[in-house]
């Protein structure tokens, strides 16, 4: 963040009101959303009424006296962009935290305008991750935005790191919000062990840092992403974890600003606030793209809470992880997970039978779940029920488990093998032309 103050700047020393997150003072010539330094801390203009200017102090107002020095910086939040960003770790303000030098480069305002929808390209390139629960059932596409909906104890960061490393992106931008120091070190280690550090840029707000600072992280990460995707025409993958903590920071600020809360004490503008971030995912016309994979942690799996609920309406699907006790592994839940953009690539960039095989297998897996309920309730199982259970177990093990790493053709062939081994053609219910081609008689 560009914090240089200029000569002849007015220095204000009369703060009239102080709350936990904001200060109010009389000042003139101030622009909306302008940055300022309050007692050496970064702050941003959030309200102007006449000469009364309200500033939100990112790191909190503890210890700020009413005669503190306030200097306005005449610009909105900014980031210096250049190739020097690669391989570096920054805090929420864009300052290095890895002991390295300041980045030299062009100054860009963060939170820039959105892409004209008529200039967007339709996302069309499959991102292969090797994880069948994703590639087979919920294929990802460049320019997509999709979160993991996960309980805090699930290994979402590990899966996300795997996806990032296998996805063959030119750059990976990590935006960490309220990340524990352990997780921060985890990402750092995984990326450097994979020898991928030069492809990675990280903006991290850890649990040690004040929560309101998090609000800057997504915009910082996406400004860097836009630099690489637009200026350098690269394929950029942005990882945002954890967006629930970002939304919590929004609610803190709106509460301090005396706004009327809507559902779950979230601000009424939550949808717009989240959409502004996620909609930065885009396929540009000249090859560059921004794909966003985020994490939204749930509380007790509740997806009706305002944060996952609003997120679900914005993102192009969601991925759920679940522990399958039958095989003792974590799987990508085929029922609740969804990638809305998969229709753009499956059966087109992958083999033609992909959509039908995928649907048939999931339907039969659902039948297995019903059979299991029947069994648990003490009812007799039919022969069909028994077969679905056998099928479901191998399907979980060979395809849904997150430790699977195979290519899409192999996933499809494995699916056919499992279908043919356990069911008749009528039970599978796939279009005749595909049955003719792929059915393996036992």
């Amino acid at each position: 963040m560009n914090m240089e103050t200029q000569a002849f700047q007015t220095v204000y020393t009369k703060i009239t009101n102080i709350t936990k997150a904001t200060v109010l003072l009389k000042a003139t010539g101030v622009g909306y959303e302008e940055m300022a330094l309050v007692h050496g801390r970064l702050a941003q203009v959030v309200k102007i009424y006449g000469n009364d200017v309200t500033l939100q102090v990112f790191s909190g107002t503890e210890g700020i006296p009413t005669n503190a020095e306030v200097v306005f910086l005449n610009h909105p939040p900014q980031l210096k962009v250049s190739d020097q960003l690669a391989g570096r770790f920054f805090n929420a303000f864009g300052d290095p935290i890895d002991g390295g030098p300041e980045v030299e480069g062009e100054i860009r305002n963060i939170g820039s305008p959105s892409v004209n929808p008529v200039r967007r390209m339709q996302p069309s390139e499959l991102i292969a991750t090797g994880i069948a629960g994703i590639d087979l059932n919920n294929s990802l596409v460049t320019g997509q935005k999709i979160p993991f909906f996960a309980d805090p104890d699930q290994p979402y960061n590990q899966v996300m790191a795997n996806v990032a490393l296998r996805a063959q992106a030119d750059k990976i931008i990590l935006g960490g919000m309220g990340m524990s120091n352990d997780d921060y070190l985890f990402f750092k280690n995984v990326f450097s062990n994979a020898g991928a550090l030069d492809r990675i840029v990280s903006f991290v707000n850890t649990t040690d840092n004040p929560p309101v600072e998090r609000l800057l992280v997504p915009d910082m990460a996406l400004t860097a992403a836009e630099y690489f995707a637009v200026d350098k025409k690269q394929k950029v993958l942005v990882l945002l974890t954890d967006m629930t903590l970002f939304a919590d920071a929004l609610s803190i600020v709106s509460n301090r600003m005396d706004q009327i809360p809507s559902k779950d004490s979230m601000p009424g503008s939550l949808y717009s606030d989240l959409a502004r971030i996620y909609e930065k995912a885009v396929q540009f016309p000249d090859g560059g793209s921004i794909t966003i994979i985020a994490v939204t942690t749930l509380s007790g799996g509740d997806i009706t809470h305002a944060i996952p609920d609003n997120t679900g309406y914005i993102t192009e699907g969601q991925l759920f992880l679940r522990r399958d006790s039958d095989i003792g592994k974590v799987i990508v839940d085929p029922f609740r997970s969804l990638s809305r953009l998969k229709q753009l690539v499956i059966g087109k960039q992958t083999r033609a039978d992909h959509p039908q095989v995928m649907n048939a297998a999931i339907r039969l897996y659902a039948d297995a779940a019903n059979a299991k309920t029947k069994m648990e309730n003490g009812f007799d199982l039919t022969d069909y029920d028994e077969r679905t259970l056998v099928f479901a177990k191998s399907y979980s093990e060979k395809l849904l488990a997150i430790d699977v790493n195979i290519d899409v053709l192999e996933m499809l062939d494995t699916s056919w093998q499992l279908l043919c081994a356990n069911f008749t053609k009528a039970e599978v219910g796939i279009k005749q032309e595909f049955l003719d081609k792929h059915w393996i008689e036992n």
Partner: protein, 588 residues
């Protein structure tokens, strides 16, 4: 709102996109003003006046705005520009032509002309010099992408006028005077092909608005067969995320019988709009042989665009719809999603510090929604022609809860309800419309019943009711089986359950991504319902409950293959025969 001098003012307060302006003269509620930000002029709308202070909502980002900035008010409300050349355009919520904007990113304050001022149109007069006309009367027409685009007496004019002159058949640009009309006092008015209209006012240049009575064919079986919508009717589709609202809405807009399709992408995903941009220009329109895009207008106000413009976008779409309806055309208007529109209202109400209603939505939400839905409808124009706007909105209920304020308000306004069910979506039963909970109030209209008797068959409605009953009985049977176990109930229960499944799999479920199955013409739906009910009417002989499921799975599989086949083709007839053989073999 007639004023000689424009009112001006200065910015005195800024809170996000709400700006307080100190004004030096009269301002009107909903008047448009421009804030002269050093980077660009920012458009804004007055939403509250308190003494000398006008509260305006700015349609752009207010970043960098300072107090003291000049504001000029424009003497009019938010208006759209109406004239030939609207079809196949992509507008933002304020009717700026998105294709005319330079660069990949949207720049604030970049306002573009919605019409092409240089294009020549082949004008044919329809009226006669000397005749009396009133607002909305047709003076002439130009062909616009195969549709007759009528040039009308401006809607804003009151009273009756005499046509003094009318240009001859020939080609003209939109700003050429094509007629001169004279009012009762002898004052002359030049009429061009362009007129403006404030979006929040309904255009009412019709004689009569009867109840809708004609079926609107959508090709979606669970709508047309079970809960049909009428031409000029209203419907809404609520559903949790991931239940296929958008796919369903796209399917309806591609297939429904309409002259003009208007899609308002209101606060939704940009990639979904891109999908329309990409698909519609390639989709052939079976009725005209032209591309679907040619009779489509897209209002794209995606979720990352400024929130105030999102509120305006649905009105912009409706006003354009009313304009084409006044030409005697059948308009289909789809808004995805009206919840985002309601949220935009909520954000502004919140900034205005109004006392909140349920879930912090404004108190008058219900009235606003009802007023909007009431603008749709089937009409008889003054010249006796018929025209319509059929409106279908989607609702994105928070947490999938259908008791939330937007769904509740919409339920009061719309006549058809297509509830999408999470359970159906989870088991990939698409479209996930819950046929039992959904309804079409139109089925209760005597004029609609009469229409069905005359245009489909006298027994059609009875069959529809039988099908609905079978679905309900199937569901009840399933609950019994789940409680008592497979062998705890008589075989008859299994049969009942599977007959419901038969209707579900064959009629309700439809593959929106299959070339043939995606759209089923009404004749085929009639055939399908009859065939399915014939199977359901048959008495079968089963040895055990496992036989029931095996038999019905086979029948369903054959019906599914039939749905994928071209109607009455050899392949199709083959499956018809196969189904018959299966049924005969199992018959009592």
């Amino acid at each position: 709102m007639e004023r000689k001098i424009k009112t001006t003012g200065k910015v005195v307060g800024i809170i996000a996109n709400l700006v307080i302006v100190d004004v030096d003269g009269p301002v009107a509620q909903n008047e448009i003003g421009f804030i002269h930000h050093p980077e660009a002029d920012l458009m804004a709308e007055v939403i509250k006046v308190m003494g000398k202070h006008a509260y305006v909502q700015v349609f752009e980002s207010t970043r960098g705005l300072m107090v003291g900035t000049d504001v000029v008010f424009e003497n009019h409300m938010l208006e759209v520009t109406l004239g030939p050349g609207i079809l196949s355009r992509n507008y933002d919520g304020l009717q700026n032509d998105l294709d005319k904007m330079e660069g990949v990113f949207l720049q604030r304050g970049n306002y573009t002309d919605p019409l092409n001022r240089d294009k020549k149109w082949a004008f044919t007069p329809l009226a006669k010099v000397g005749s009396q006309v009133i607002a909305g009367d047709w003076l002439g027409e130009v062909p616009e992408n195969g549709m007759p685009h009528r040039i009308m007496v401006p809607f804003k004019l009151e009273g009756s006028y005499t046509i003094k002159s009318l240009v001859a058949k020939g080609s003209y640009v939109v700003d050429d005077t094509i007629a001169v009309i004279v009012d009762a006092n002898g004052k002359e008015l030049d009429i061009t092909m362009v007129q403006k209209w404030p979006v929040k006012m309904p255009i009412r240049v019709y004689k009569e608005k009867p109840r809708p009575f004609k079926l609107l064919e959508t090709g979606v079986r669970c709508i047309d067969t079970l809960n049909p919508i009428m031409v000029g009717g209203t419907g809404f589709i609520p559903g949790p995320f991931g239940t296929g609202k958008t796919v369903l809405q796209h399917a309806i807009s591609k297939q429904a019988e309409a002259d003009i399709v208007i899609i308002a992408a209101c606060g939704e995903r940009a990639n979904e709009v891109v999908e329309i941009f990409k698909e519609f220009p390639e989709l052939e329109d079976p009725r005209t042989g032209r591309k679907l895009m040619e009779r489509t207008v897209i209002i794209a106000n995606t979720s990352n665009m400024p929130v105030a413009a999102r509120e305006a976008s649905v009105y912009t779409a409706m006003t354009i719809g009313e304009y084409y309806r006044s030409m005697g055309l059948r308009v289909l208007l789809m808004a995805d999603s009206t919840s985002r529109w309601a949220q935009a209202l909520r954000e502004m109400s919140n900034r205005l510090e109004e006392l909140p209603g349920p879930d912090a939505f404004p108190m008058d939400l219900s009235a606003i929604v009802s007023n909007f839905y009431a603008r749709a409808g089937f009409v008889y124009l003054n010249n006796g022609e018929t025209a319509s706007i059929t409106f279908i909105g989607t609702v994105s209920p928070a947490g999938g809860n259908l008791k939330e304020p937007v769904t509740e308000s919409t339920r009061k306004a719309a006549r058809c309800f297509y509830g999408l069910s999470q359970a159906r979506a989870d088991s990939k039963r698409y479209p996930a419309i819950d046929a039992i909970d959904s309804y079409s109030k139109y089925l209760e209209y005597p004029e609609v019943q009469e229409y069905f008797n005359e245009h489909i068959s006298k027994t059609w409605l009875d069959k529809v009711i039988v099908a609905k009953d079978l679905l309900l009985r199937g569901k009840e049977a399933m609950e019994q089986i789940n409680i008592l176990g497979d062998d705890g109930v008589p075989i008859e229960f299994h049969e009942r359950f599977w007959k419901g499944e038969l209707i579900d799999f064959v009629i309700l479920q439809q593959d929106a991504f299959d070339k043939i199955d995606c759209s089923t013409p009404l004749v085929r739906q009639e055939y399908l319902l009859k065939s399915v009910l014939d199977v359901a009417d048959t008495s079968f002989e089963f040895k055990g409950f496992e036989d029931v499921s095996t038999f019905f799975k086979n029948v369903i599989n054959q019906f599914k293959q039939l749905n994928y086949s071209e109607y009455e083709s050899d392949q199709f007839n083959g499956y018809v025969k196969a189904i018959d053989e299966l049924v005969q073999a199992q018959k009592k």
